[in-house]
Amino acid sequence: MALAPYLSVERLRKQFGHFAALKDVSLDVFPGEFVCFLGPSGCGKTTLLRAIAGLDIQTSGRIIQGGRDISNLPASQRDFGIVFQSYALFPNLSVTANVGYGLASRRLPKVEIETRVAELLSLVGLPDSGPKYPAQLSGGQQQRVALARALALSPGLLLLDEPLSALDARVRSYLRTEIRRLHQRLGVTTIMVTHDQEEALTMADRIVVMNEGVIEQIGTPLEVYRQPASAFVADFVGTTNFLPAVVLDTGSVRFGKLDLACGLNLSPGPGHPVTLAIRPEDVVVRNVLPGAANSVEVQVSDIEFLGSFCRVGLALGDDTPPLVADFSINVVRDLEIRQGQTLLISLPPDRIRVFPGAPQLP
């Protein structure tokens, strides 16, 4: 991207006693981008967000927003709107008063405030809820009010801290598209913290995958899913089979009794242990001819029906754990896949990712 970043985080460190919550984290966010911080709890994603907001200041490192060094500014002097998982709506104030809370202390004319609040409420699809109190709204409605309040001062940066986690599945998926639509309409640079990979994959322009205080990978959802930069990312985002193998030469590895070709050049030399990663949906079962590249005969050990597809366990015949594959209902019906059946499958070389070192057992 030729654009200058809107927000730059440089070598950010956050120390809690002896525990480093953030270890020299650096990243750039570009104007108008929707970025998700994704990771398991305790990975440092919320710490990073709160440092960007100035709520919990970093131990060291620099943050530059819109060309301004904000590293040591208190939250009140930074330019952001924030939405929390708990909504943090003021319970004793009406929806109108909540949304207009920041406007009211700017001493704007009353009419101007009213117009702006009405505009914001219709933006989030709650034009008639103004006189109600937060307790009279559903969780999803409350979250939309919180969103309207955060947008009231037209901040340059919108921060969302697990905004959807407290909601049930249906409302969550509805609000996902709502927030996305809002973002596209307003074009405000947005950072969302989430532990839900589905949320990150569907909403983000770019995902920042974090683990134990470091960034594992930054990339578009497709990149993160297709080309995970580490075994951690492959495991955390989506489902992955991890297979232990040993490097044979630059283009192939040995897994059990099997020699497999891999699309990429392997960096560790021959004899080094590696971990192969292949996603269940990448296992091919249709039109595999005997003797084709990376083909192997397997036995169906179990079938789990999951609605639009089946998750199938495939025993490789030795003491390695069964391979997991996702077959569409179509495939299962056409090939009449049953438990105990023997199948010829292939593991396409361009779908296999290779990571150095033996697999870490969970």
């Binding site: 709520l55 060291s60 929390f84 920041g102 109190y133 307790a135 009279q136």
Partner: protein
């Protein structure tokens, strides 16, 4: 501002957050709070401590006073007396209050509201009231004297009976809270596993209330050890620590020995307080957010048994109260039982007359108003200030300390501190001001905890949201925090009012002829043999506290309807 392009410099220097106006205000506030508590609590106690190491000429004499104290059997015996009274009272009150609380929270007995109100009335009375009442019942001319089988009520017996009455509601409140919540799923699980009723009680109910019981135990123990009024009125020749201080200071003008006894009295109070804190920290939340609240189901035999129990206990409370009320209305006990209001003409018995009562009302109002502002502001500062850990820890410790300091000890410490040569605040001595400050400090901790609990229930991100919206903390406090905490604020003010109205021990050393208080008038009139007017004054205090309490309940209800409409769904 640092220039944006300073290559390589970032990441090495630690970031120091700049402080905004709110930060500076909050920190200044915490420093003020520390200063206030230093002045009203720490320095006076320090003066008291140093006094106990001095002789009458103010020369340092090391432990000599303490040696004399522990080698004088007449003085040292009081330690055992106090411990004995406190232990016995705790052993009696704890089971009584537990069963009573159990009946109120876990049964379907009838008239629960009535029983609860009745049991909590003694809180509104000075501790002197049950003592006076028991004198009328079992004293030399008591009409139930025969029931005592020759044992004198003046002494340990009377003290313990009065203390039981006085401490019961305090223990009950803690146990009511401890038994108020229970997860019905635990009881269903126990039922499904075929546990007997006794076993369920021993393995589910009792462990759930364990921390409440421990806490109540320590509270009773401390109340008894530090109470002065009861032992003074009904103790006879039975000496306890609290009366010893009084005798040393007022009777013999031996301030140094008074300071020693004060410190001896401080020890059990501090130990009980520290032990309670340690136990409470071990407590983990037994109720998760998913708990299903237990709703008691009717069980005729249990409910009637508990009803009978509560009737007996509640009946005794009613008798003690009624006795004091009756005694205050009788012309000349026991010879002329015609009713009269003459005993309420306090001017006939005490030089200050009704003025003492009005002083008390004044003290209570000032303590409630000023105290609520200081306590709430203090709790807010401690809860919401960012960083500044050192200041917060110090202030938090100081706010918890008054709980462990008996009123008498604090009062004595004030004598030393505010009388000290060169103390610029010396002008407060002998004024209403020092009484207000003393009462406020004495009752600081409970009020502080109430405020803190209310503040903790608010969303922690309100301040973060305000900062992002560029709204000052002060505005968010007045617009949101304070209105949401209004019920707790009212609770605090009423707590301070009632306690300032009824306390004796905190102010007995500090009143002057211009500021004599109602509770002190009771002690004086009782001492002068005017027991009926003393009972009348006690009833006047009860009536005042009760009216204020009822007004509080009505006001809270009204507020809930008008300003707290947002709580409803």
């Amino acid at each position: 501002m640092t220039p944006v392009s300073l290559p390589g410099a970032a990441g090495i220097l630690p970031t120091r957050r700049r402080l905004d106006r709110d930060d500076l205000l909050m920190r200044a506030g915490i420093c003020l709070l520390i200063g206030w508590l230093l002045l009203t609590l720490i320095l006076p106690l320090w003066w008291l401590l140093s006094k106990s190491f001095q002789n009458q000429n103010g020369e340092f004499i090391g432990l000599a006073n303490y040696l004399r104290y522990f080698s004088t059997p007449a003085l040292f015996a009081s330690v055992w007396n106090s411990l004995f009274i406190a232990t016995l009272t705790t052993a009696i009150v704890l089971p009584l209050a537990f069963v009573y609380a159990y009946a109120l929270q876990r049964s379907c007995m009838r008239f629960k509201g009535l029983f609860q109100a009745l049991a909590l009335i003694p809180i509104l009375a000075p501790s002197l009231l049950p003592a006076i009442s028991l004198i009328y019942l079992f004293g030399n001319q008591g009409f139930l004297k025969a029931w005592m089988f020759g044992v004198s009520v003046y002494g340990p017996f009377g003290i313990v009976m009065s203390q039981v009455f006085y401490c019961f509601p305090h223990a009950l409140m803690i146990l009511l809270a401890a038994l108020s919540m229970a997860d019905s799923r635990l009881y269903e699980a126990a039922d499904a596993l075929g546990a007997s009723k006794t076993r369920v009680f021993l393995t589910v109910t009792l462990p759930g209330a364990k921390y409440g019981l421990i806490s109540a135990g320590f509270v009773i123990f401390t109340l008894v050890i530090t109470d002065f009024g009861i032992a003074k009125v009904i103790g006879g020749r039975f000496n306890v620590l609290a009366t010893d201080i009084f005798k040393q200071v007022i009777g013999q003008q031996n301030f140094e020995m008074g300071a020693v006894v004060g410190f001896v009295l401080l020890i059990p109070a501090v130990v009980a307080f520290a032990a309670d804190r340690i136990f409470q920290q071990r407590q983990v939340a037994l109720l998760s957010a998913r708990a299903v609240p237990l709703v008691p189901k009717p069980a005729a035999r249990r409910d009637w048994a508990l009803f009978a129990f509560c009737s007996v206990v509640g009946g005794m409370i009613a008798v003690v109260l009624a006795m004091a009320a009756w005694a205050s209305l009788v012309t000349r006990w026991p010879y002329n039982l015609t009713l009269t209001l003459n005993n309420y003409a306090f001017g006939e018995f005490d030089s200050d007359g009704w003025a003492a009562y009005w002083h008390s009302v004044q003290l209570a109002v000032w303590t409630a108003v000023i105290g609520t502002v200081i306590v709430f502001a203090g709790a807010y500062l401690l809860e919401k200030t960012r960083a500044f850990a050192a200041g917060r820890v110090v202030a938090q410790f100081m706010a918890m300390l008054p709980m462990a300091v008996p009123g008498l000890v604090l009062g004595l410490a004030y004598i030393f501190f505010f009388n000290a040569k060169g103390n610029p605040f010396g002008f407060l001595y002998g004024t209403m001001g020092i009484l207000v400050i003393n009462s406020l400090t004495h009752f600081y901790t409970v009020s502080h905890l109430t405020a803190t609990t209310a503040l903790k229930q608010l969303d922690h991100e309100f301040e973060a949201v305000s900062a992002s919206l560029k709204v000052s903390l002060l505005r968010t406090m007045t617009r949101v925090t304070l209105p949401v905490c209004l019920p707790a604020v009212l609770d605090i003010s009423i707590y301070l009012f009632v306690n300032a109205m009824t306390t004796v021990s905190a102010v007995i050393f500090l009143y002057s002829t211009d500021t004599k208080l109602a509770a002190i008038a009771i002690v004086n009139m009782d001492e002068a043999g005017f027991t009926a007017p003393a009972a009348a004054m006690a009833m006047t205090i009860v009536a005042t506290s009760a009216s204020v309490k009822i007004a509080h309940v009505l006001l809270t209800r009204r507020l809930e309807r008008t300003t707290q409409g947002w709580r409803r769904r």
